[in-house]
Amino acid sequence: MQIIKDRNIIEDNWQFIADDQLLLPGDCTVTLGRWLTEKEQLLRHDGKVGVRIESTDDLETISCDLALIPLVEINFVIFSDGRAFSKAWLLKNRYHFSGEIRAVGNFLADQIFYLSRSGFNAFNFEGKQNLTLALSMLNDFSVSYQKTG
């Protein structure tokens, strides 16, 4: 599967594992709830483990674990839920998370410029998406008024 990461189109093998499923070999993401209850086992998993955050999740609950997590996915149930933008900003600027911040779920290629400026560095589109077009949208604007980061 292809995604956009750090301004490139790359092959990606991370898999999201729902709470009622067993972890599969390889790199997996799990829900915040699962991470909090099964952290010890997850850290012994053969492969990397990341966490998927919903827009209603409280980042404070994983703030102490962020050094253990290489990837945080922020899930869009609907593209207009702007909380994801602030979550990414907080992860990067408040919690100084240096791992990958990936947008997943129902977001638009047209949002990718704002998402990137808010802190996301990877984008995994839910449906069919022309990634070359999406990648070009990271350059929709060459100037910005706000300071970032």
């Binding site: 702007g82 933008f85 602030s86 047209d110 998402l115 060459s142 100037v143 910005s144 008024y145």
Partner: protein
Amino acid sequence: MYQYNQDDQTLINERVAQFRNQTERFLKGELDADQFRALRLMNGLYIQIHAPMLRVAIPYGLLSSTQLRKLAHIARKYDKGYCHFTTRQNVQYNWPKLEEVPDILAELAEVQMHAIQTSGNCMRNTTSDHLAGICKDEIEDPRPYCEIIRQWTTLHPEFAYLPRKFKIAVSGALHDRAATQFHDIGLHLVKNEQGETGFKVFVGGGLGRTPVIGQVIRPYLEKRHLLSYLEAILRIYNLFGRRDNKYKARIKILVKEEGLEKFKSLVDEEWLQIKDGMELSEERIQAIQTHFVLPPYDKSAAADATFHSRLESDNAFATWVKHNTVEHKAPGYRAAFVSLKAPDEPPGDITDSQLELVADLADRFSFGEVRSTHRQNLVFADVKQADLFDLWQQLNKTKMATPNIGTATDIICCPGLDFCSLANAGSIGITREINETLDNLDYLHDLGDIKINISGCMNGCAHQSVGHIGILGVDKKGEEWYQITLGGSSENEAAIGDRLGPSVPKDQIAKAVATILDVYVKNRIEDESFLDMVKRAGLTPFKDQVYANH
């Protein structure tokens, strides 16, 4: 006024290119209606009953003559030869074609204009006092801060998908002419005990379905912290504002449900963590202030004698001066209103040729600039008293000198059922009927300061809840009825009007307004204003007469 630098221009040019691409993809079916809706709204484009409606931003109401001519050109080329000024100092086109909107935006960009964030659930155009920089009661000119806020809000990446729309207004004078207490954030320039200027910050005000008066969240905010404090409020709102019900999604509901103290502590906690990293430097403020230096006034303007002799010899001119001009801090100058409230025209509408005339008059008489007001009129801010007679004659020939500013026929009115797909009832027709009942100028002027606001539905675009007389269109089994409120005000003593009683049918509403005005005339004590009389006497004397035959 503010002039774009290369970066400002690049940004709006790139925005046009982005929207052109989005429009093409929508027309090819590559974006669905919901996706395109969010994107087009943030470019001011609605889909209305008859056609799309495009709302163009006029940052804090300032327009140059060049921009006015462009608005005229767009009205002629892409619309039906007119446009409409709104209560947020913006301008709307009611008949553009969707596929031509990118071209319109490109034309606007040529004159440093855009439609960015004039709609959608994002930070909207910042509004201000239409007499900024020239009024005598000013503490400091608010426009440089409006421009700083404009830049900060424009394409802010984190706050483009808020729970609901977000409006900021800034006032720099003692008299609040910008309805700041009815904004999501209202800012008043104030002085502290040391004599330094800063901001008194109001939060959680708003009109619409649930009118709420803003509360003071910070009595004094140092200027250097302006943007960090705004960002803290926006971040808390973005994270915690309700998203489950669009009628409860404005920040006023969050403030109400959390309570001001709790909300304030959330904001302060956020603010303390960001404030040192995003201070506004004095140099930056000064650099923006240089765009708003006062024009080179003629120091001998007050020596002119013709103005006073004209006032004595021409009654119609004197009436216009009395009602449609206001004093100015420079001796020998006045600010002159262009009334967009001619009796037989929809309030706020202006034609292409009128726009061009206003542009010419601005060049001749007011340093090439005009301002839009939140009561849907225009102002020439800097007119020499010696020029007022010429100006009046020109405006008079083109139906823009109706001497009714601040009177009962200076009505704020939404497009209503004639244009808007949300409306329950007509509003333009009611305005016309009220005008017909108030066709006696002497009576109108004797009534004094009366603000009538008419909205065609409870979304309240015409701010009926803060009208001295508020009229709200409601749908009753497919018929248009109207609720009346009295005693609202959007100025310093902010108040939400009280409901008079049951709604009245369409054929009775103009008569009801006439009755209310008669009750005022009969009951006022000396020169008591309408609003003061309502406060003193309450609703009863009005109720008794309006519902006398029911």
